[in-house]
Symmetry: C2
Subunit: 285 residues, 2 copies
């Protein structure tokens, strides 16, 4: 995530190549020259590709003498990461394809070079990349969908670094619960503008006290909020205005299919819908 | 969802074949003989395949004279749906493949036949199927991941029908916010054990008062809960026990990469981590 106050990175450490080859590998890597530059690269997708790219990014010096260690700005550095992706593609993609393995990698790359603001990039398998803007505060790679709703609801550029870290952990907690391909420990790195070094980093396992608190409180309070929301009112009276899910006025009907030989349903056939207002759990305004 | 008290079905109505071919088609279909049987079929995936299957399921009579209209139980009916999937596959899959289109369909099929309990099945593109058990209260098809966390946290077989409907709507709201391939209106059907007819059904669009309430309250209260959770404490004192995200004791360090020609990092190199306890937003026990 890229925020007004800095950057927040969170990564899990599960890799799998089928259920009987599950391992723990760290996917968050730091390129740091304290006082000069601080860059973070997180990877998702095929682990052998990711690790080759990491190695190349650290070593690569372009024809123009530019490397991540001396690039004048983050854009140049992201271009070098993209070149590393293409180098690994040229080397490995054909051999992988012979085994039916797709060249699949996703990279988040962000940080700050002295004299420039913080920047965050997402780099694709083809080596091309996009940059985070204020309208797109965060990028996700890997199993992104489970944890996206809470990020969409909470994170804006004005969110503080600690709030953003909290939100990232909640998002990851939701993903951990719903998908076994994601696993502890987590690597969390919070970077504050202009520190140009890693000052806040934590590897979070199941014993981490704060993460335990987040997991139990969030789940409990979510349930509490859930129970506090009123249940729907079915077939409400025509003048009802509270928690009305359906009423005779709305007159909605399901798509009914007719047995062969009978006329297709008009949508109003079948048993009559209940007509009395059944107000379960009413009483909340 | 299959609950002790009955069944809850929720479907959106968005179809798309690329961003310039977006349409509204209803995907929840009812096969009903009031007092005798009530079955619901929801589909996801290729719309032409789904509609062909729907047609065949309504018309199909097996060699043994069995159809969904006279099947002795839900398992037999699910088998007929599976046969319909295979019939459409045999007819269309080859021609679709010539255009690079995968034979892709997901079906949820559930209901009750008189004399039997409620049952719920998920039917795959190959026509095989699985049945919901108490440990797997719900099935999802289509864009399932965004909305899964809240279902995982809330729904158990003991959940009431109204609570389950509420949870399904919250889950769908999260999906609607995070993915444009899902769209209103929604079809919601709640079936109470042994009614053997559709008694509660609502088509929910953006004007639906209850859904509006769910959308605004849930988001607001989620934010409220979020703000109520304590921020992490970085680099806590050794004896701190509250909201500790990192401390000297835990001693975690990022994976640091070294510039070419330098020794690889021990993981402890680089700038020193902050050592003073920085307690942001502390004060919550």
């Amino acid at each position: 995530m890229r925020l007004d106050a800095g950057l927040v990175f969170l990564s899990d450490s599960r890799t799998n190549a089928g259920v009987d080859q599950v391992g723990t590998f760290r996917k968050l890597n730091v390129f740091e020259q304290p006082g000069e530059r601080m860059m973070v690269m997180m990877t998702a997708g095929n682990l052998s590709i990711s690790q080759s790219i990491r190695q190349l990014v650290a070593e690569h010096v372009g024809a123009d003498g530019v490397s991540v260690w001396n690039a004048a700005n983050m854009y140049e550095a992201a271009r070098i990461v993209g070149e590393a992706v293409r180098t690994v593609h040229a080397r490995d993609a054909k051999a992988l394809a012979e085994f039916g393995i797709e060249f699949n990698v996703g990279i988040l790359f962000g940080g700050q070079v002295k004299g420039e603001r913080c920047r965050l990039f997402q780099i694709y398998s083809a080596g091309n990349f996009i940059e985070s803007q204020n309208e797109n505060t965060y990028f996700q790679i890997g199993e992104a969908k489970y944890g996206k709703p809470i990020l969409d609801r909470v994170v804006t550029p004005a969110t503080s670094l600690d709030e953003a870290a909290k939100c990232a952990l909640i998002s990851m907690d939701s993903t951990l619960r719903s998908n076994v391909s994601v696993g502890l420990p987590l690597d969390l790195l919070v970077y504050e503008n202009d520190t140009l070094a890693v000052t806040r980093f934590a590897t979070i396992d199941e014993r981490n006290q704060y993460f335990q608190m987040i997991r139990s409180s969030w789940g409990q309070q979510l349930k509490h909020v859930f129970e506090g929301l009123a249940d729907p009112v079915w077939n409400a009276a025509a003048d009802a205005t509270s928690n009305v899910l359906s009423s005779a006025k709305l007159g909605s009907a399901p798509v009914r299919l007719a047995p062969p030989g009978q006329a297709p349903s008009s949508g109003q056939a079948g048993a009559p819908l209940q007509t009395l207002a059944q107000q379960f759990g009413a009483g909340q305004p």
